[in-house]
Structures are given as structure tokens and as C-alpha cells.
Amino acid sequence: MTNIFNYVDRKSPVHAMTGASKLVCLLLWSFGAMSSFDPRFLFALFVLALVLFKISKIRVADIRFMLWFTFVFCILNNLLIFLFSPMHGTEVYGACHEIFHIAGRYTVTQEQLLYHLNVFLKYAATIPIVLLFVTTTDPSEFASSLNRIGVNYKIAYSVALALRYIPDIQREYHDITLSLQARGVEMSKKASLGARLKTASGTLVPLILSSMDRIEVISNAMELRSFGKNKKRTWYRYRKFTAWDFGAMLLGLAVLVLSIVLTAFVNHSRYYNPFV
């Protein structure tokens, strides 16, 4: 079974860092990458993310599903941009270098291609770091780090619980589909995609019913042990920041500062523009 969104337990310096510092780094990094349209900068971030992946000992196989998902999403995103505004690049860069004409208002320009390259690189620069955070931070560490950066612990904990129960719900979904298959529901590739989607939705009723039962028991169990009594709570897994943690936060800060410097002083715009 594929794990969609899950912690992968390995020993590495990235795993050893506190969730809070990784979260801060992730947020700063994302802001930095999101605000810049400089392909050189984004490419450098992508390479850096790959290096971090290497250090974290997370393998491609661990995140294959999410990689495919984001890849498809990225392609779709690019296609839609081209479909709805084929001249967006020209508007942004204020130049028009036509390569070839397709039909009607659809013309491929160098500017548009550069813009698409930027969108693509944005995915490449941010998705690996998000996946890295998710696979190296276990749910309770994640909850405590959200709480540490100021999110209410009740919200933080419910997010963590949701993450923690994803594997259970996946297992349950798997069992339900097996029992439906035994009844005669065709779920293999023999059935059409539409038919499979329809039957997959059939599993939702039992899945929701049994999840509701589960939620009631968990919330009772939590209240019986004082969850929600005070405004704050402490965390068993609380750890002091180490040099690695400060390093991670500095790295995030550096990414953001560099992005701002590029925008304000080098490119004088969010875009790197080789055309004008």
C-alpha cells in the first residue's frame, strides 16, 4: 500500500532537528521561492533541496506517489496557463520573440516559455522541501512545532491527529474495498475509470460511519485526560534548539533575504528579465 502523506522513520540529521525549526525554515523558504521569478535562483534552490534530501536519507520510493501527484498537477497548471493566457509572458516581460504560431491567438513565444520555466521551477524548488518536512517530522512533533510558532494547541493537535490516523484510514479503506470486491464490485483495471470512481465513492459511506465512531471515542479519551483544560500545554517531546536547528532557520532566512535582495536590487522586479 502506498503511503500518501506520511512520516518515514530513519536516522538522519534532518530527522533529529526539532519540528519547529524545520517548520520555520519551510515557511521562510516557501515565501522566498514564491515571491521570486528568477530561474537562476529557483534552480539553485532546487539543487539545494536535492542536497538536503540526500542528507535526510529519504528515498524517491518513499514519496513516489506525492511526486507523481505534484508532477501531474504542475503539468496541468502550466497547460491551463497557456490555454487561458498564451501571451502572459509577453505582458510580464514587455517583449515579444515569436517562435512559431499554432492557431488563432495561440502563439509560442520565448517570453511565455521563460514564464513556464519559472512556474515549473517554483514547483521544483518548493515541493521537495515540503515533502522533506512531511517525511521527516512525525505528527506529534509537528503539532508541538505548530504550537511553538503560535498556533493554538487544540488546532495543532487536531491536525496532528488527522495525520496520525491517515494510515489507519487507508488500511480501513483497503479492507472495505476488498470486501466490496468479494461482493462483486470490479475495482481492478478491467473496469472503466468512471465505474471505478463510482465504486470508490461507494466505500465512502462505510468509511465515514466507522470514522465517526472512532472520532467519538478519541475525543472522549482526550477529554478524560484533561485535554482542553488549560490555555497552554507542555510537550513530552519538547527539545531545546541545537546548532542544526539554528542552522536550518538561518538557511530559511538566507533564502528569503536573497529573494528580497534579487527583487529589490538585482532584477528591480520580481522577474528576471533577459529580454529588455
Binding site: 472495505i176 479519551a221 482526550m222
Partner: protein, 569 residues
């Protein structure tokens, strides 16, 4: 001495219900007492638990009349959090109440919410873990633990708070027999060492009485029916009246015509003392009942040959399994969690594919058959009916398998009517599934499997988490089904179920088939019991007490007599 818990003319009514659930409850529990609260489902014992720990009315809306004091304070005036510092609750489902990601975090959960500093917290977690003997598992995740260990963690999670009262809601429901016995011993030890008051809600009377209990409070229909010692209760007829199972040795004594009296110390088989005349009565009963002649073996429906299965991670779940299921049998598959029981069922149904060996259905290899094709011969019923039901109306749910196979409307209707009749659900044919009780839903899932007319049905823990009344309802239904010609296979760790209802037991341990024999034989074999995490029945000890050498034959005869009695009723 002041009672630590005191109900005075107490009553409780849920906001969503018209009638009160509890009436006229008068009950004083004193510090250091060990009290068992028993009663059939719907008797109000779960509501009593919720009133004690504060879930009612703080989570389940409702109002109460009369008074309830906990630790001398009126419960009305304290919230659920204050209450949890006096009464620690260990819920029935130790899996679902495992909130933390690891053992240590789960034990620390209450301390975290009380803002205990981390150093102090770690020290207290270590102490609590050592008390229940899980200190070696602090970094483990819930799925790495056995059911018994999870329950220990839950107990440690309330012990970190130094509560006065420990409240156990059906502690035996999810445990195999050996783990259940260990749990009762642990509760007893903690109560003595830590000087706690203990309240246990449970309907498995014989198993709870394994360690001494001071009082038994028997409830029925929202009222307290009896508040007495276990000895007195066992000598009365209240257990039969309320549908609670009495210990097997007590039933055996009654069959033999022995009148059970408090002076015999009947609460435990170890303390039971019988006069020579009484022993003679038991021996006479034993000799008077005859061994039954074994029926000639029926035709083989399903045969498993040299079956070996490994999961993707290399774990060998089954090794060299050979067995036959014959037409008309009612067979139990027993063994602790992870012994390979469920894996065997998955292989038979085609959910997984074996690496070695063959599974033959009426002589033909199933290797090339799809899940759907196998389902026409072997029906699989999951443990939780909520996991199987995907249609709103009963009729659609039961007919689903046939509709998907493209049968004509008349054919579907005929099969649905027949399956519903078999499951005594005909009056509900046009009802929505959501209007049914748990036991009825279970029958709907069985009907939906039966509509395909399989020769064998496999049921995964059909009675898990059910009280004796529902258990009896489900099992008697399966027994009737079996008599009508359907071969039934049950996965279970309930020994009573095996003894009472099955002709045959297949015992698994660590992926191997350890035994294939009658339940009475299996449960009289000490070496096998130890290996498979089962428990010796008290009949074994009773046979010894009365000087009957062949405990297995004694058990066999008891079962036959018991079945006749049940069918006679």
C-alpha cells in the same frame, strides 16, 4: 469511613431520550474496595460509568436527579477535568484511546495537558511505565504493541495522575484469554500495591472472578438489582434472570444436581470445596452421560495444501498449512493476534496470493479464480458491520452482489427474500440500514453474503465487543444457519464460543497450525494452551477436583449436555 463515591436516589436522563436511563441508584463505594458492576446490554452500566467519570453530562447532554458525590464533593459542581483527577478511566477500546504517537507520549498525555514541566513529566512517565511493566516499550508506536500491552499503557496513562479510583470499562473485551487473565492479575496487583479503589464493568463474570472481588453490583433496566458478594450472587438465580453467563463449573455442578451454596466458596474454582457426596454426584453424572459416536467424515469442500505465505517485508505469516474443511461443519480458527488466522482467510478469499501451496475448492485449484469468483463459494463477513454496509436500504444492500453479477430483477428479489428470511429480517425489507441495531446490522451483512449462496461462510470475530445477550443472539443465529447446511468458519479468541458452538478448532500460533481437534481436546491440552495463548477451562479443574482422570471426556460430555439444554429451551 466516608464513601469515596456515593449515589443517593440518583437518576439520569439523556437530553435526546424521552425516558431516564438510570433510576433510584443508591450505591456507596468505600476506599480500597474492588467492585464489579455487571449487567446485560442496555442495563445502564455504561451510563453509570459516564456519570462517574463526567462524560455525562459534560460530553453527553443530560440531567440528573438526586445526588452523586465523588471524594465528598457534589459531582454537579465539578467539571470533567477535576473528576479525572479522582477517577481514572481505562476505556474499552484501548486502540482508539491511544492518543499519543508513542507509548511515552501517550502516558504523558494528561501531564502535558496539566502543563507539567518536561523533566518532571519524564520522571513520572518512567515511574508509571514501570508500574505496569511497559518501560521497555517507551519509544514504541501503538501498532507495535499487543492488545494487552496497549491496555497497560492506558492504565499507566491514568496512573501518572495518582488518582484514587480506577474505573475499567470492559477490560477483557479485546483481549485473548491469556492476556485477559494477565490483565485481571495486573489490576489486582496495582489495586493492592497502590491502594486504589477499583471499579470494573464487565460481563465476563468467570474471568473477572479470577482474582478476588469484594462486591458485585448487578444492574438491569436502569436499576440496581443486587449489591452483594460474588459467592451470594453465584448461588442465586439472578444471573440466569439477567442473562449473564455463570462460570462453567457452576453450570456443570447444576447439571450434576449439586446445589451451589456460599459455604462451598464458589467464587473461584481454586477455592471451591465439595463434600464427598457432592463429588460423587458429579462422577455419577459424568458416567451416566455417554460419549457420542463420531459421524462419518462428510465430503471435503475446501482443502489447503502446503500453504506458505510471506508479506512483502519478508515476514512469514503462514508456513506449511494443511487442512480440510468439510461440508456442514462449524469450525473455529483460534490463536492470538498475528498468529496467521486472518491471513489464512485472506488467502482463501483471494485478497492475497500465496507463494507456495494450493487452495482447492471442491477439488479444483483456486489459483486462477478472481476475488469475485471465489466469493460465490466462500463468503467473508468482516468484524465490524459498519465496514461492510454501503447502501442506504436493506434490500439494496442484500441484493448488491447479485445486481453486480447482472442477475435478473426476479432472481435478485427471490434471493434477497430468501436471505432475509434466513436471517429473520423479512419484516425490515423496506427499512433503511441506519434504523437497525448493531446485531441486526450484523445479520444484514451476513444476509448480503448469503444471497450469493456460498457453500462456506468465514466470519471474522463475529461476537467481538458484544455482551452475552447479543453474543447469544448472533451465535444462535449462526448455529441455525449451520444446521440448515451452510459450512461456518469463525475466527475467534473466545474459548466459550469455541466450546459451546463449534465441532472443531484449528489452533494457530506464529504462522503454524498447531492443532486440529475438537475444542474440548484443545482446551484440555496444557502445552497447546500455553503456546497459543489460550486458557484452561475451569471444567478441567473441576474434573480434577472430583477425581475424574479424563478431563477431556468430562468437558466433551458437559458441552453435549449444555447444547441439549440450550436447544431444549
Amino acid at each position: 469511613m466516608e464513601p469515596i463515591i456515593s449515589f443517593k436516589n440518583f437518576g439520569f436522563k439523556y437530553t435526546v431520550q424521552k425516558e431516564p436511563t438510570l433510576f433510584d441508584i443508591n450505591l456507596d463505594i468505600y476506599p480500597g474496595q474492588k467492585v464489579l458492576i455487571a449487567g446485560p446490554s442496555g442495563c445502564g452500566k455504561s451510563t453509570l460509568v459516564s456519570c462517574l467519570n463526567g462524560l455525562a453530562p459534560f460530553s453527553y447532554d443530560g440531567e440528573y436527579t438526586g445526588s452523586l458525590t465523588v471524594g465528598g464533593k457534589e459531582a454537579r459542581e465539578s467539571d470533567i477535568f477535576t473528576r479525572s483527577k479522582v477517577i481514572g478511566t481505562v476505556l474499552q477500546d484501548s486502540d482508539a484511546q491511544f492518543v499519543g504517537l508513542t507509548v511515552a507520549e501517550d502516558i504523558a498525555f494528561a501531564l502535558e495537558n496539566d502543563e507539567v514541566p518536561v523533566e518532571d513529566m519524564k520522571r513520572r512517565v518512567d515511574t508509571a511505565a514501570a508500574l505496569v511493566d511497559v518501560q521497555g516499550h517507551l519509544a514504541h508506536a501503538p501498532h507495535e504493541l499487543s492488545g494487552g500491552q496497549k491496555q497497560r499503557v492506558s492504565l499507566a496513562g491514568v496512573l501518572v495522575d495518582d488518582v484514587d479510583v480506577l474505573l475499567f470499562d470492559e477490560p477483557l473485551a479485546n483481549l485473548d484469554p491469556a492476556a485477559g487473565e494477565a490483565a485481571i492479575e495486573l489490576i489486582d496487583r496495582i489495586a493492592k500495591e497502590q491502594n486504589k479503589t477499583v471499579i470494573i464493568i464487565e460481563h465476563r463474570l468467570e474471568d473477572v472472578l479470577h482474582c478476588a472481588i469484594d462486591r458485585v453490583v448487578l444492574m438491569d433496566e436502569g436499576r440496581i438489582l443486587a449489591d452483594t458478594t460474588p459467592e451470594e450472587l453465584l448461588c442465586s438465580d439472578l444471573l440466569q434472570k439477567t442473562g449473564i453467563r455463570e462460570p462453567l463449573y457452576i453450570t456443570a455442578l447444576k447439571y450434576a444436581g449439586v446445589t451451589v451454596q456460599p459455604s462451598m466458596h464458589p467464587a473461584h474454582i481454586e477455592t471451591l470445596s465439595l463434600s464427598e457426596a457432592e463429588k460423587e454426584k458429579v462422577r455419577a453424572w459424568y458416567e451416566a452421560s455417554q460419549e457420542e459416536e463420531a459421524a462419518p467424515p462428510a465430503e471435503t469442500l475446501l482443502e489447503v495444501k502446503d500453504l506458505t505465505f510471506r508479506y512483502g517485508n519478508g515476514f512469514e505469516a503462514l508456513k506449511d498449512i494443511n487442512l480440510r474443511l468439510r461440508k456442514g461443519e462449524m469450525t473455529a480458527i483460534a490463536g492470538r493476534n498475528g498468529a496467521g488466522k486472518s491471513t489464512l482467510c485472506k488467502l482463501i478469499c483471494g485478497f492475497e496470493q500465496q507463494q507456495e501451496g494450493r487452495i482447492l475448492l471442491k477439488g479444483s485449484d483456486t489459483k486462477t479464480m478472481s476475488i469475485k469468483e471465489r466469493a460465490e463459494h466462500v463468503g467473508y463477513v468482516m468484524q465490524n458491520p459498519n465496514q461492510m454496509i454501503s447502501k442506504v436500504f436493506i434490500k439494496d444492500e442484500v441484493g448488491l452482489g447479485l445486481v453486480l453479477r447482472g442477475r435478473s430483477q426476479e432472481e435478485v428479489d427471490a434471493a434477497v427474500d430468501e436471505a432475509l428470511a434466513t436471517c429473520s429480517l423479512s419484516p425490515f425489507v423496506d427499512w433503511p440500514v441506519s434504523a437497525l441495531s448493531y446485531g441486526q446490522k450484523k445479520r444484514v451483512t451476513i444476509a448480503s453474503i448469503l444471497s450469493l449462496r456460498p457453500e462456506v461462510i468465514l466470519l471474522d470475530e463475529p461476537t467481538a465487543g458484544q455482551d452475552f445477550r447479543r453474543y447469544t443472539e448472533i451465535m444462535e443465529f449462526l448455529e441455525a444457519l449451520n444446521r440448515s447446511g451452510v459450512t461456518v468458519v469463525l475466527i475467534t479468541h473466545d474459548m466459550h464460543l469455541m466450546l459451546e458452538y463449534c465441532d472443531r478448532a484449528l489452533v494457530f500460533s506464529e504462522g503454524r497450525l498447531l492443532a486440529d481437534d475438537s475444542p474440548a481436546a484443545v482446551l484440555s491440552d496444557p502445552a497447546l494452551i500455553e503456546k497459543a495463548s489460550l486458557k484452561k477451562t475451569s471444567l478441567y479443574a473441576l474434573a480434577g477436583l472430583c477425581g475424574i482422570a479424563d478431563a477431556r471426556a468430562f468437558t466433551d460430555r458437559f458441552i453435549r449436555c449444555d447444547r441439549k439444554e440450550r436447544r431444549g429451551q
